[in-house]
Protein backbone atom coordinates (compact mmCIF):
# COMPACT_ATOMS: atom_id res chain seq x y z
CA UNK A 1 0.00 0.00 0.00
CA UNK A 2 1.40 3.43 -0.91
CA UNK A 3 1.82 6.01 1.79
CA UNK A 4 -0.81 8.33 0.31
CA UNK A 5 -3.27 5.42 0.37
CA UNK A 6 -2.47 4.89 4.04
CA UNK A 7 -3.05 8.57 4.78
CA UNK A 8 -6.40 8.35 3.01
CA UNK A 9 -7.55 5.97 5.79
CA UNK A 10 -7.13 8.66 8.46
CA UNK A 11 -9.62 11.35 9.43
CA UNK A 12 -8.40 14.92 8.92
CA UNK A 13 -9.99 18.27 9.50
CA UNK A 14 -7.77 20.76 7.71
CA UNK A 15 -7.01 24.11 9.29
CA UNK A 16 -7.78 27.08 7.00
CA UNK A 17 -4.22 28.32 7.34
CA UNK A 18 -1.42 25.84 6.62
CA UNK A 19 0.28 25.10 9.95
CA UNK A 20 3.64 24.26 8.36
CA UNK A 21 5.42 26.66 6.06
CA UNK A 22 8.85 26.05 4.53
CA UNK A 23 10.92 29.23 4.26
CA UNK A 24 11.42 29.19 0.53
CA UNK A 25 14.60 31.22 0.51
CA UNK A 26 16.24 28.87 3.05
CA UNK A 27 15.10 25.68 1.34
CA UNK A 28 16.26 26.83 -2.07
CA UNK A 29 19.91 26.47 -1.11
CA UNK A 30 19.49 23.41 1.12
CA UNK A 31 21.36 20.37 -0.17
CA UNK A 32 20.40 17.52 2.14
CA UNK A 33 16.63 18.14 2.24
CA UNK A 34 16.21 15.80 5.16
CA UNK A 35 12.52 16.79 5.44
CA UNK A 36 11.82 14.74 2.29
CA UNK A 37 12.99 11.51 3.89
CA UNK A 38 11.97 11.84 7.52
CA UNK A 39 8.32 12.76 6.92
CA UNK A 40 6.26 9.60 7.58
CA UNK A 41 3.53 10.97 5.32
CA UNK A 42 5.86 11.56 2.37
CA UNK A 43 4.34 15.04 2.29
CA UNK A 44 7.44 16.99 1.27
CA UNK A 45 8.33 17.35 -2.41
CA UNK A 46 10.45 19.47 -4.69
CA UNK A 47 8.40 21.07 -7.42
CA UNK A 48 9.61 19.52 -10.64
CA UNK A 49 12.10 21.54 -12.63
CA UNK A 50 12.52 24.09 -9.81
CA UNK A 51 14.25 24.28 -6.45
CA UNK A 52 11.02 25.05 -4.62
CA UNK A 53 10.23 22.79 -1.65
CA UNK A 54 6.57 22.15 -0.81
CA UNK A 55 4.65 20.41 1.93
CA UNK A 56 1.13 19.01 1.70
CA UNK A 57 -0.14 20.09 5.12
CA UNK A 58 -3.58 18.53 4.88
CA UNK A 59 -2.18 14.99 5.38
CA UNK A 60 0.12 15.94 8.23
CA UNK A 61 0.34 13.45 11.11
CA UNK A 62 1.69 16.24 13.37
CA UNK A 63 4.71 14.24 14.45
CA UNK A 64 7.19 17.14 14.31
CA UNK A 65 9.95 15.15 12.57
CA UNK A 66 10.47 17.71 9.81
CA UNK A 67 11.04 20.65 12.14
CA UNK A 68 13.16 18.53 14.47
CA UNK A 69 15.49 17.41 11.67
CA UNK A 70 15.75 20.54 9.51
CA UNK A 71 19.28 21.77 10.22
CA UNK A 72 18.67 25.23 8.76
CA UNK A 73 15.67 26.54 10.68
CA UNK A 74 13.85 26.38 7.37
CA UNK A 75 10.37 25.62 8.72
CA UNK A 76 7.65 27.68 10.40
CA UNK A 77 5.95 24.90 12.35
CA UNK A 78 2.90 25.09 14.58
CA UNK A 79 0.32 22.61 15.70
CA UNK A 80 -2.97 23.07 13.84
CA UNK A 81 -5.51 25.15 15.73
CA UNK A 82 -7.61 23.41 18.36
CA UNK A 83 -9.94 20.79 16.88
CA UNK A 84 -8.17 20.82 13.51
CA UNK A 85 -5.73 18.39 11.92
CA UNK A 86 -5.52 14.64 12.26
CA UNK A 87 -7.96 12.69 14.41
CA UNK A 88 -6.88 9.17 15.34
CA UNK A 89 -9.88 6.94 16.03
CA UNK A 90 -7.79 4.13 17.51
CA UNK A 91 -4.31 5.52 18.13
Amino acid sequence: MRVDEKLALDAFKPDEEPHIKPRLEVCRTCRDRVCLRVCPGGLWTVVEGTDEVRVECSGCLECGSCVTCCPNGGIDWAQPRGGCGVRFRLG
Binding site: M1, V3, K6, L7, L9, D10, K13, R31, D32, R33, V34, L36, R37, V38, C39, P40, G41, G42, L61, E62, C63, G64, S65, V67, T68, C69, P71, W77, A78, Q79, P80, R81, G82, G83, G85, V86, R87, F88, R89, L90, G91
Partner: protein
Protein backbone atom coordinates in the same frame (compact mmCIF):
# COMPACT_ATOMS: atom_id res chain seq x y z
CA UNK B 1 -15.50 30.94 28.60
CA UNK B 2 -15.24 34.44 29.97
CA UNK B 3 -11.89 36.14 29.93
CA UNK B 4 -10.09 36.14 33.24
CA UNK B 5 -11.66 32.87 34.47
CA UNK B 6 -9.77 31.45 37.45
CA UNK B 7 -8.94 27.84 38.30
CA UNK B 8 -6.89 26.15 41.00
CA UNK B 9 -5.19 24.00 38.39
CA UNK B 10 -4.99 24.35 34.62
CA UNK B 11 -3.62 21.34 32.76
CA UNK B 12 -2.21 21.73 29.25
CA UNK B 13 -2.76 18.52 27.27
CA UNK B 14 -5.32 15.76 27.75
CA UNK B 15 -3.06 12.73 27.35
CA UNK B 16 -2.25 10.16 30.02
CA UNK B 17 -0.13 12.53 32.12
CA UNK B 18 -2.55 15.47 31.93
CA UNK B 19 -5.73 13.50 32.53
CA UNK B 20 -4.37 11.44 35.42
CA UNK B 21 -3.21 14.68 37.02
CA UNK B 22 -6.62 16.30 36.51
CA UNK B 23 -8.44 13.25 37.90
CA UNK B 24 -6.28 13.22 41.04
CA UNK B 25 -6.53 16.98 41.67
CA UNK B 26 -10.29 17.02 41.00
CA UNK B 27 -10.83 14.14 43.44
CA UNK B 28 -9.06 16.26 46.05
CA UNK B 29 -11.64 18.99 45.44
CA UNK B 30 -9.59 21.38 43.32
CA UNK B 31 -11.18 23.38 40.49
CA UNK B 32 -9.40 21.90 37.47
CA UNK B 33 -9.53 22.62 33.75
CA UNK B 34 -7.79 20.53 31.07
CA UNK B 35 -7.22 22.03 27.63
CA UNK B 36 -6.72 19.49 24.88
CA UNK B 37 -6.07 20.55 21.30
CA UNK B 38 -7.52 17.37 19.77
CA UNK B 39 -11.21 16.94 19.03
CA UNK B 40 -11.32 14.62 22.02
CA UNK B 41 -8.74 13.21 24.42
CA UNK B 42 -6.63 10.64 22.54
CA UNK B 43 -7.33 12.03 19.07
CA UNK B 44 -3.65 13.01 18.67
CA UNK B 45 -2.01 10.29 20.68
CA UNK B 46 -0.06 7.24 19.64
CA UNK B 47 1.81 4.52 21.48
CA UNK B 48 3.13 1.10 20.43
CA UNK B 49 1.87 -0.03 22.68
CA UNK B 50 1.67 -1.81 25.88
CA UNK B 51 1.14 -0.44 29.30
CA UNK B 52 2.91 -1.80 32.37
CA UNK B 53 0.50 -1.45 35.27
CA UNK B 54 2.82 -3.20 37.75
CA UNK B 55 4.90 -0.13 38.62
CA UNK B 56 1.69 1.86 39.08
CA UNK B 57 0.29 -0.29 41.90
CA UNK B 58 -0.70 1.93 44.78
CA UNK B 59 -0.75 5.02 42.56
CA UNK B 60 -3.84 4.41 40.44
CA UNK B 61 -7.40 4.29 41.79
CA UNK B 62 -9.37 1.01 41.80
CA UNK B 63 -11.49 2.24 38.88
CA UNK B 64 -8.53 1.24 36.71
CA UNK B 65 -9.94 -2.28 36.84
CA UNK B 66 -12.53 -1.04 34.29
CA UNK B 67 -10.02 0.65 31.98
CA UNK B 68 -10.36 -0.30 28.29
CA UNK B 69 -7.28 -2.52 27.97
CA UNK B 70 -6.91 -4.74 24.91
CA UNK B 71 -5.08 -7.98 25.85
CA UNK B 72 -2.75 -9.08 28.66
CA UNK B 73 0.63 -9.99 27.15
CA UNK B 74 1.27 -13.71 27.67
CA UNK B 75 3.96 -14.18 25.06
CA UNK B 76 7.08 -12.12 24.42
CA UNK B 77 9.20 -12.58 21.31
CA UNK B 78 12.43 -10.93 20.29
CA UNK B 79 13.41 -11.49 16.66
CA UNK B 80 16.70 -10.78 14.92
CA UNK B 81 16.34 -10.36 11.16
CA UNK B 82 19.07 -10.52 8.55
CA UNK B 83 19.29 -11.34 4.87
CA UNK B 84 15.86 -12.91 4.69
CA UNK B 85 16.52 -15.12 7.75
CA UNK B 86 15.13 -14.54 11.24
CA UNK B 87 16.02 -15.96 14.65
CA UNK B 88 13.47 -15.60 17.43
CA UNK B 89 13.72 -15.86 21.17
CA UNK B 90 10.34 -16.67 22.52
CA UNK B 91 9.10 -16.49 26.09
CA UNK B 92 5.91 -18.00 27.41
CA UNK B 93 5.74 -18.12 31.13
CA UNK B 94 3.16 -18.12 33.89
CA UNK B 95 5.19 -15.31 35.40
CA UNK B 96 4.06 -13.06 32.54
CA UNK B 97 0.50 -13.59 33.74
CA UNK B 98 1.14 -12.55 37.30
CA UNK B 99 -1.43 -9.76 37.57
CA UNK B 100 1.00 -7.68 39.62
CA UNK B 101 3.53 -7.61 36.81
CA UNK B 102 1.49 -8.11 33.65
CA UNK B 103 1.50 -5.66 30.78
CA UNK B 104 -1.54 -4.96 28.61
CA UNK B 105 -1.81 -3.80 25.05
CA UNK B 106 -3.80 -0.57 24.63
CA UNK B 107 -5.22 1.74 21.98
CA UNK B 108 -4.80 5.34 23.01
CA UNK B 109 -7.93 6.83 21.48
CA UNK B 110 -10.00 4.44 23.63
CA UNK B 111 -7.88 4.67 26.77
CA UNK B 112 -7.50 8.46 26.79
CA UNK B 113 -11.20 8.99 26.13
CA UNK B 114 -12.02 6.77 29.11
CA UNK B 115 -9.55 8.61 31.32
CA UNK B 116 -11.05 11.93 30.20
CA UNK B 117 -14.50 10.72 31.26
CA UNK B 118 -13.13 9.68 34.66
CA UNK B 119 -11.51 13.07 35.19
CA UNK B 120 -14.76 14.78 34.20
CA UNK B 121 -16.84 12.57 36.53
CA UNK B 122 -14.53 13.62 39.36
CA UNK B 123 -15.33 17.25 38.53
CA UNK B 124 -12.55 18.35 36.19
CA UNK B 125 -13.55 20.47 33.22
CA UNK B 126 -12.11 18.77 30.14
CA UNK B 127 -12.14 21.12 27.18
CA UNK B 128 -11.38 19.47 23.81
CA UNK B 129 -10.53 21.36 20.62
CA UNK B 130 -8.63 23.96 22.66
CA UNK B 131 -4.98 24.68 21.87
CA UNK B 132 -2.98 26.50 24.52
CA UNK B 133 -0.66 29.03 22.90
CA UNK B 134 1.40 30.31 25.79
CA UNK B 135 1.85 30.70 29.53
CA UNK B 136 1.11 33.81 31.56
CA UNK B 137 3.77 34.94 33.99
CA UNK B 138 3.85 37.47 36.78
CA UNK B 139 7.20 38.25 38.37
CA UNK B 140 8.70 34.96 37.25
CA UNK B 141 5.78 32.83 38.44
CA UNK B 142 3.46 31.09 36.01
CA UNK B 143 -0.05 32.38 36.64
CA UNK B 144 -2.13 30.96 33.82
CA UNK B 145 -2.38 30.16 30.14
CA UNK B 146 -3.25 31.91 26.93
CA UNK B 147 -5.49 30.50 24.20
CA UNK B 148 -5.40 32.89 21.27
CA UNK B 149 -6.46 36.22 22.80
CA UNK B 150 -8.12 34.61 25.82
CA UNK B 151 -6.32 34.40 29.12
CA UNK B 152 -7.15 31.94 31.87
CA UNK B 153 -5.65 32.30 35.31
CA UNK B 154 -4.63 29.47 37.57
CA UNK B 155 -2.92 29.03 40.91
CA UNK B 156 -0.91 26.27 39.27
CA UNK B 157 -0.31 25.19 35.66
CA UNK B 158 0.60 21.61 34.74
CA UNK B 159 2.30 21.23 31.38
CA UNK B 160 1.52 17.78 29.96
CA UNK B 161 1.63 18.60 26.28
CA UNK B 162 3.72 15.68 25.10
CA UNK B 163 6.93 15.14 23.19
CA UNK B 164 6.77 18.20 20.92
CA UNK B 165 5.95 20.93 23.41
CA UNK B 166 5.14 24.23 21.72
CA UNK B 167 4.10 26.11 24.82
CA UNK B 168 6.76 28.55 25.91
CA UNK B 169 7.32 30.64 28.98
CA UNK B 170 7.60 33.69 26.77
CA UNK B 171 6.00 34.43 23.42
CA UNK B 172 8.67 32.72 21.38
CA UNK B 173 7.88 29.16 20.35
CA UNK B 174 10.41 26.88 22.07
CA UNK B 175 13.02 25.31 19.82
CA UNK B 176 12.21 21.81 18.55
CA UNK B 177 13.94 18.92 20.31
CA UNK B 178 17.37 17.87 19.06
CA UNK B 179 17.17 14.91 16.63
CA UNK B 180 19.54 13.07 18.99
CA UNK B 181 16.90 13.22 21.73
CA UNK B 182 13.91 11.77 19.90
CA UNK B 183 12.89 8.79 17.84
CA UNK B 184 10.10 8.64 15.29
CA UNK B 185 7.45 5.96 15.62
CA UNK B 186 5.50 5.07 12.47
CA UNK B 187 2.61 2.68 12.90
CA UNK B 188 -0.23 0.91 11.14
CA UNK B 189 -3.24 -0.71 12.66
CA UNK B 190 -4.16 -3.93 10.88
CA UNK B 191 -7.49 -5.61 11.66
CA UNK B 192 -7.60 -9.38 12.13
CA UNK B 193 -10.52 -11.26 13.60
CA UNK B 194 -9.74 -12.54 17.11
CA UNK B 195 -9.73 -16.24 16.16
CA UNK B 196 -7.29 -15.79 13.33
CA UNK B 197 -5.15 -13.45 15.41
CA UNK B 198 -4.89 -15.99 18.24
CA UNK B 199 -4.03 -18.78 15.79
CA UNK B 200 -1.34 -16.78 14.06
CA UNK B 201 0.32 -15.57 17.24
CA UNK B 202 -0.15 -18.86 19.06
CA UNK B 203 -2.33 -17.49 21.85
CA UNK B 204 -5.05 -18.76 24.10
CA UNK B 205 -8.36 -16.91 23.78
CA UNK B 206 -8.12 -13.39 25.15
CA UNK B 207 -4.34 -13.47 25.61
CA UNK B 208 -1.93 -11.17 23.82
CA UNK B 209 1.52 -11.13 22.29
CA UNK B 210 4.31 -8.58 22.03
CA UNK B 211 7.02 -8.95 19.41
CA UNK B 212 10.07 -6.76 19.02
CA UNK B 213 12.50 -7.04 16.13
CA UNK B 214 15.93 -5.71 15.27
CA UNK B 215 17.69 -6.13 11.98
CA UNK B 216 18.54 -5.08 8.48
CA UNK B 217 15.03 -3.89 7.63
CA UNK B 218 15.92 -0.47 9.13
CA UNK B 219 18.86 -0.31 6.67
CA UNK B 220 21.34 0.67 9.32
CA UNK B 221 19.17 3.30 10.99
CA UNK B 222 19.20 2.64 14.77
CA UNK B 223 15.74 1.41 15.63
CA UNK B 224 13.50 -1.60 15.40
CA UNK B 225 10.08 -3.00 14.67
CA UNK B 226 7.19 -3.93 16.94
CA UNK B 227 3.99 -5.95 16.82
CA UNK B 228 1.35 -5.82 19.56
CA UNK B 229 -1.92 -7.73 19.43
CA UNK B 230 -5.10 -5.88 20.33
CA UNK B 231 -8.56 -7.45 20.64
CA UNK B 232 -9.23 -7.57 16.91
CA UNK B 233 -6.25 -5.83 15.39
CA UNK B 234 -2.47 -5.76 15.38
CA UNK B 235 -0.36 -2.66 15.95
CA UNK B 236 2.65 -2.89 13.66
CA UNK B 237 5.33 -0.25 13.46
CA UNK B 238 8.92 0.87 13.52
CA UNK B 239 10.72 3.22 15.88
CA UNK B 240 13.64 5.04 14.24
CA UNK B 241 16.19 7.37 15.75
CA UNK B 242 15.84 10.71 14.00
CA UNK B 243 19.56 11.48 14.14
CA UNK B 244 20.14 8.14 12.40
CA UNK B 245 17.60 8.89 9.67
CA UNK B 246 19.08 12.35 9.17
CA UNK B 247 22.67 11.07 9.10
CA UNK B 248 21.86 8.61 6.31
CA UNK B 249 22.11 11.48 3.80
CA UNK B 250 20.08 12.28 0.66
CA UNK B 251 20.31 8.67 -0.56
CA UNK B 252 19.12 7.34 2.80
CA UNK B 253 15.80 5.57 3.33
CA UNK B 254 12.45 7.30 3.79
CA UNK B 255 10.87 6.69 7.19
CA UNK B 256 7.62 5.28 5.76
CA UNK B 257 9.55 2.91 3.49
CA UNK B 258 11.16 1.33 6.55
CA UNK B 259 7.75 0.39 7.94
CA UNK B 260 7.00 -1.26 4.59
CA UNK B 261 10.37 -3.04 4.80
CA UNK B 262 9.46 -4.37 8.25
CA UNK B 263 6.05 -5.51 7.04
CA UNK B 264 7.78 -7.29 4.14
CA UNK B 265 9.96 -9.42 6.47
CA UNK B 266 8.47 -12.90 5.76
CA UNK B 267 7.92 -13.57 9.48
CA UNK B 268 5.88 -10.39 9.79
CA UNK B 269 4.09 -10.66 6.47
CA UNK B 270 2.80 -14.12 7.44
CA UNK B 271 1.38 -12.85 10.71
CA UNK B 272 -0.49 -10.02 9.01
CA UNK B 273 -1.58 -11.71 5.76
CA UNK B 274 -5.18 -10.96 4.87
CA UNK B 275 -5.44 -8.23 7.51
CA UNK B 276 -6.67 -4.83 6.47
CA UNK B 277 -4.94 -1.59 7.42
CA UNK B 278 -7.42 0.76 9.08
CA UNK B 279 -5.25 3.56 10.45
CA UNK B 280 -1.83 5.09 9.86
CA UNK B 281 -0.10 7.20 12.47
CA UNK B 282 3.22 8.67 13.55
CA UNK B 283 4.52 10.29 16.72
CA UNK B 284 7.84 11.21 18.33
CA UNK B 285 9.23 9.37 21.36
CA UNK B 286 11.55 11.29 23.70
CA UNK B 287 14.84 9.41 24.09
CA UNK B 288 17.02 11.15 26.60
CA UNK B 289 19.16 9.93 29.39
CA UNK B 290 18.25 11.11 32.89
CA UNK B 291 21.08 13.66 32.72
CA UNK B 292 19.57 15.40 29.69
CA UNK B 293 16.01 15.91 30.90
CA UNK B 294 14.32 19.30 30.60
CA UNK B 295 13.11 21.08 33.79
CA UNK B 296 10.25 19.37 35.62
CA UNK B 297 9.05 22.42 37.51
CA UNK B 298 9.25 26.18 37.88
CA UNK B 299 7.38 28.59 40.17
CA UNK B 300 3.68 28.02 39.44
CA UNK B 301 4.43 25.21 36.98
CA UNK B 302 4.76 21.42 36.99
CA UNK B 303 5.78 19.42 33.90
CA UNK B 304 4.68 15.78 33.50
CA UNK B 305 4.96 12.87 31.06
CA UNK B 306 6.66 13.18 27.67
CA UNK B 307 6.84 16.97 28.09
CA UNK B 308 9.34 16.31 30.88
CA UNK B 309 11.12 13.64 28.81
CA UNK B 310 9.99 10.85 31.15
CA UNK B 311 10.45 7.87 28.82
CA UNK B 312 12.76 4.87 29.10
CA UNK B 313 13.90 2.91 26.06
CA UNK B 314 15.20 -0.41 27.36
CA UNK B 315 15.95 -1.51 23.80
CA UNK B 316 13.53 -4.43 23.92
CA UNK B 317 10.66 -2.26 25.12
CA UNK B 318 9.72 1.43 25.41
CA UNK B 319 8.13 2.69 28.60
CA UNK B 320 6.47 6.09 28.57
CA UNK B 321 2.85 5.45 29.46
CA UNK B 322 3.46 4.16 32.98
CA UNK B 323 5.83 7.07 33.61
CA UNK B 324 3.30 9.55 32.19
CA UNK B 325 0.53 8.18 34.43
CA UNK B 326 2.76 8.12 37.51
CA UNK B 327 4.11 11.63 36.99
CA UNK B 328 0.56 12.84 36.29
CA UNK B 329 -0.78 11.35 39.51
CA UNK B 330 2.13 12.78 41.52
CA UNK B 331 1.60 16.19 39.90
CA UNK B 332 -2.11 15.97 40.78
CA UNK B 333 -1.30 15.15 44.40
CA UNK B 334 1.16 18.03 44.63
CA UNK B 335 -1.44 20.30 43.03
CA UNK B 336 -3.94 19.33 45.73
CA UNK B 337 -1.82 21.11 48.33
CA UNK B 338 -0.47 24.64 48.64
CA UNK B 339 0.36 25.85 45.09
CA UNK B 340 3.49 27.66 46.24
CA UNK B 341 4.86 24.42 47.70
CA UNK B 342 3.73 22.26 44.76
CA UNK B 343 6.93 22.40 42.63
CA UNK B 344 9.15 21.22 45.51
CA UNK B 345 6.59 18.61 46.62
CA UNK B 346 6.32 17.27 43.07
CA UNK B 347 10.09 17.07 42.56
CA UNK B 348 10.49 15.25 45.88
CA UNK B 349 7.71 12.78 45.09
CA UNK B 350 9.17 12.06 41.64
CA UNK B 351 12.63 11.53 43.06
CA UNK B 352 11.27 8.94 45.49
CA UNK B 353 9.08 7.19 42.90
CA UNK B 354 9.98 4.49 40.39
CA UNK B 355 9.94 7.16 37.67
CA UNK B 356 13.28 8.74 38.46
CA UNK B 357 14.65 5.55 40.00
CA UNK B 358 14.14 3.63 36.78
CA UNK B 359 15.31 6.54 34.63
CA UNK B 360 18.51 6.69 36.65
CA UNK B 361 18.98 2.94 36.46
CA UNK B 362 18.60 3.11 32.67
CA UNK B 363 21.08 6.01 32.45
CA UNK B 364 23.39 4.18 30.05
CA UNK B 365 20.71 2.68 27.79
CA UNK B 366 20.64 5.62 25.41
CA UNK B 367 24.36 5.61 24.73
CA UNK B 368 24.36 1.81 24.42
CA UNK B 369 21.47 1.81 21.96
CA UNK B 370 23.31 4.31 19.76
CA UNK B 371 25.83 1.55 18.87
CA UNK B 372 24.89 0.86 15.27
CA UNK B 373 26.31 -2.70 15.42
CA UNK B 374 23.17 -3.67 17.34
CA UNK B 375 21.02 -3.11 14.27
CA UNK B 376 23.01 -4.72 11.48
CA UNK B 377 26.03 -6.63 12.70
CA UNK B 378 24.69 -8.70 15.60
CA UNK B 379 21.43 -9.72 13.91
CA UNK B 380 23.57 -10.93 11.01
CA UNK B 381 26.03 -12.86 13.20
CA UNK B 382 23.24 -14.62 15.08
CA UNK B 383 21.17 -15.39 11.98
CA UNK B 384 24.18 -16.77 10.10
CA UNK B 385 25.18 -18.85 13.12
CA UNK B 386 21.77 -20.51 13.31
CA UNK B 387 21.62 -20.94 9.55
CA UNK B 388 24.93 -22.81 9.68
CA UNK B 389 23.93 -24.86 12.69
CA UNK B 390 20.78 -26.21 11.08
CA UNK B 391 22.19 -26.75 7.58
CA UNK B 392 23.15 -30.23 6.45
CA UNK B 393 24.56 -29.87 2.96
CA UNK B 394 25.89 -32.35 0.39
CA UNK B 395 29.31 -32.49 2.18
CA UNK B 396 27.75 -33.70 5.42
CA UNK B 397 28.00 -31.74 8.62
CA UNK B 398 31.45 -32.09 10.16
CA UNK B 399 31.86 -31.00 13.75
CA UNK B 400 28.70 -29.32 14.92
CA UNK B 401 30.38 -26.73 17.10
CA UNK B 402 32.78 -25.54 14.41
CA UNK B 403 30.58 -23.07 12.58
CA UNK B 404 29.40 -21.70 15.90
CA UNK B 405 32.93 -21.03 17.06
CA UNK B 406 33.86 -19.54 13.73
CA UNK B 407 30.92 -17.16 13.78
CA UNK B 408 31.46 -16.17 17.40
CA UNK B 409 35.19 -15.59 16.91
CA UNK B 410 34.59 -13.52 13.83
CA UNK B 411 31.51 -11.65 14.97
CA UNK B 412 31.64 -11.21 18.71
CA UNK B 413 34.91 -12.30 20.35
CA UNK B 414 36.99 -9.47 19.01
CA UNK B 415 37.94 -6.07 20.35
CA UNK B 416 34.76 -4.24 19.28
CA UNK B 417 32.48 -7.09 20.27
CA UNK B 418 34.05 -7.37 23.71
CA UNK B 419 33.74 -3.64 24.17
CA UNK B 420 30.02 -3.85 23.38
CA UNK B 421 29.65 -6.69 25.90
CA UNK B 422 31.54 -4.67 28.51
CA UNK B 423 29.17 -1.73 27.98
CA UNK B 424 26.12 -4.05 28.12
CA UNK B 425 27.10 -5.27 31.57
CA UNK B 426 26.33 -1.80 32.98
CA UNK B 427 22.77 -1.64 31.64
Amino acid sequence: MADGEHFDVVVVGGGLAGLSCAWEAAKAGRAVAVFERGEEPGAKNVSGGRLYLGPLRGLLPDEWNDAPLERPVARETLTLVSGGGAVSFDLRSDKLRDPAAASHTVLRAKLDRWLGEKAAEAGAMVVPGARVDGLLRTNGTVTGVRLGDETIEAALVVLADGAVSRVALDDQAPPPPSPAHVALGVKELVTLDPGRLEDRFGLEPGQGAARLALGDFTRGVPGGGFLYTNRDSVSVGVVLRLDGLAAAGPQGPESHALLDAFRAVPEVARLLAGGETTEYSAHLVPERSVDQLPPRSAPGLLVAGDAAGLVINHGFTVRGMDLALASGVLAGRAAAGDPAAAPAAYEAALAKSFVLRDLRAARRSQAFLARDRLYGHYPRVVTELFEELFRFGPDGKGRVARPAWKALRKGVLNWRGLRDLWAARKL
